[in-house]
């Protein structure tokens, strides 16, 4: 985990359609909230993108490089206080030396972030 203590994975569920669902707790004690923002904790969008990437790495079973974040929409401000539990959905497709990733962060029917990206294998 790049950002220490940012989240905890509680459960990983593989759905029949191939989507991998990560049930995650966002940790309000992470040091990033000291600065983002003082007295007003908001989960940094880039930390959520990193969390999605780390879930994708767990699915791929290898470290990946975020070579092209084609699109990432951040539709809801996520905070560890208002959104202590979130679901990360990963759809990862291997394409030669690279992976195509489609992912969301949300809860139930709600989507807080959705992204499309191309990841390459490091090394």
């Amino acid at each position: 985990m790049l950002i220490k203590d940012y989240y905890t994975i509680n459960e990983v569920i593989t759905r029949e359609d191939g989507v991998i669902l990560f049930q995650i707790s966002l940790r309000p004690d992470c040091q990033v909230y000291q600065g983002h923002f003082p007295g007003e904790p908001v989960s940094p969008g880039v930390c959520n993108i990193q969390m999605v990437k780390e879930c994708a790495e767990q699915v791929a079973g290898k470290p990946l490089f975020l070579a092209n974040l084609q699109q990432c929409r951040l539709t809801t401000l996520v905070t560890p206080v208002q959104h202590p539990q979130v679901e990360v959905m990963i759809h990862l497709e291997e394409k030669g030396e690279a992976y195509k990733l489609k992912a969301t962060i949300g809860k139930g029917e709600e989507v807080y972030l959705d992204l499309k990206a191309e990841l390459t294998v490091i090394g």
């Binding site: 003082p38 969008g45 930390c47 990193q50 975020l66 974040l69 699109q71 951040l74």
Partner: protein, 143 residues
């Protein structure tokens, strides 16, 4: 290179982020449609791992560069910076990750503005080498 307008904690006049997540430490210049910013990549950086600034750090550097740009006009009028949030990141292409010790120099350009949302294009270089390019939509939170 021209003398920067603000460096280090001087940037706190432009951005609401504080350590450990301050990802811009140099503000070279700005006009209404563009700005130039920079970051010294240091080993203690929250987003550094194995001697490299990792991908989210590069994205956050651009996001905070945009925040600093948004904060510059209020600053010149004696106002404090407002909270800004990334609404959308598009086409963020990373050629390579910078190493600790490199200096990132970012050029921002406004592509459009509507209803509190600013669309910017950014290019981050180390020396003459382009490391990353992207587009970003930034929301600035009102009072």
């Amino acid at each position: 290179m021209t003398e920067p307008l603000l460096v280090g904690e001087g940037l706190y006049k432009l951005i609401p982020q504080r350590n450990p997540i301050v990802m811009v430490d140099t503000f070279f210049c700005a006009d209404e449609q563009s700005a130039e910013t920079g970051l010294h990549v240091q080993s203690g950086n929250l987003f550094c791992e194995g001697g490299f600034l990792r991908e989210p750090g590069m994205i956050e550097h651009v996001a905070q560069s945009a925040a600093a740009f948004a904060g510059y006009a209020p600053y010149t009028q004696g106002e404090s910076p407002k909270l800004g949030f990334i609404g959308e990141v598009k086409k963020f292409k990373i050629v390579r990750m910078p190493k600790v010790g490199e200096f990132l120099h970012t050029n921002l350009r406004v592509l459009g503005e509507a209803a509190g949302v600013t669309l910017i294009a950014a290019e981050t270089k180390s020396g003459e080498e382009v490391l990353a390019t992207c587009q970003m939509k930034i929301f600035i939170k009102g009072d």
